[in-house]
Symmetry: D2
Subunit: 129 residues, 4 copies
């Protein structure tokens, strides 16, 4: 693994650790794409739960509280874990998928055009989706 950035924290190494972890516990039968997609959405909601009653300003300060900071880190880890496992069982390269998407969005939202848009009139358009 040392040749791979010399780190056990790069994305591909984490993907392999997650696959080994599940295999060692015989969890693969539960890891259908459907179940992993459900688990991913559940974890993303647990992250949102931390923010649901906060004002926009309060939401920028969540890392100032040690307990909340731990919760946030825990939930982003879970989201990434299920995303990697989902991609693993379907043989998907998530980095390539994102790179392709950014390229499509660069064409879809040219900088000048994006600036001339009135956001009020198109609240769903102001961010890549």
């Amino acid at each position: 693994m040392t040749e791979h950035h010399g780190s056990d924290r790069d994305l591909d190494a984490l993907r392999r650790r997650l696959a080994d972890f599940a295999a060692a516990r015989d969890w693969q039968p539960f890891h259908t794409p459907k179940n992993l997609a459900a688990a991913l959405s559940v974890e993303a909601s647990e992250l949102l739960e931390i923010f649901q009653w906060l004002t926009p300003e309060e939401s920028t300060r969540v890392m100032a509280d040690a307990g909340t900071a731990e919760r946030v880190k825990d939930e982003v880890a879970d989201v990434l874990a299920y995303l990697l496992q989902f991609c693993d069982v379907l043989g998907l390269d998530v980095l390539a998928a994102l790179s392709d998407k950014i390229e499509r969005n660069e064409r879809r939202f040219p900088v000048a055009g994006a600036r001339s848009n009135d956001r009020q009139g198109s609240p769903d358009r102001h961010s890549p989706e």
Copy 2:
């Protein structure tokens, strides 16, 4: 794989491209942690939507249909995009968060104990959460 390092497809490079993309379009005011957490959960649900009526078996074959495969790739890209942007605005290292979480889960779900568990009796315990 060292040549992959420095590529525009590694996670940190993608994070920077997303930040530049948002900055060039003046979207940062919308990118509060709360809004990005909401957007992340919305995208995770769009991924789940693809699977909602499928049987477990059908869910393993989604990449066989070209149109569905594109949709799946598009949604995993969106999930990763919002996850990276969320972590970026809060200064979080998502790879470190996941590495820490895997270590905690290795202690929490020791292999022998996990195998001796009766899954039926503890359906929520069989996977890291």
Copy 3:
């Protein structure tokens, strides 16, 4: 309230109890439509969490376990609570909205046409959305 079906369990009575409950605790400032929509989606995900690792067959038997049955009831109550509060703050009649939607779906999915559809080919079309 007796004139309204003679019950404190009808939908409108529950809506008023929820509004009184929030008012008595000064929670209205937190109950923006955006926050209530986020809370609704978080609670719907907590319901889904109960099912995420279950097979379709297991999912039909969740009420057989007393503890799981309580969890399910608790989460459906939360979903309805936030749905009613969301509709309340926006002045929406949720029953009229659903009645209208069913009428639209009856035109959109005529019985004969629905039967002739091949579900495999259109997994997203087989249920009203």
Copy 4:
């Protein structure tokens, strides 16, 4: 309001219309509790999507725009439709579940205690969950 009883817009009548609708289209095999819970969470996220980039203030004005108002009504109808269908397949009385929950919350969040709480310190506690 007794004339509302027996109307095709009360909750139980809508529940029956939804059950008949699904039966006429042979959709019951797809309507497992697990699938309906997934569909419910997907629809709740589609409602949230309308609000994801809005400020709290903007979120209070969504019904002023005719197109957005239609989208909101459509999504709340979908959420209620899947909630009723979920409860139907499991034989759950959602009104009784909510009534019980409100009673529990009245004990859990007594008015005086709720007022003395510092919301900043307990952002998750200020609303029934």
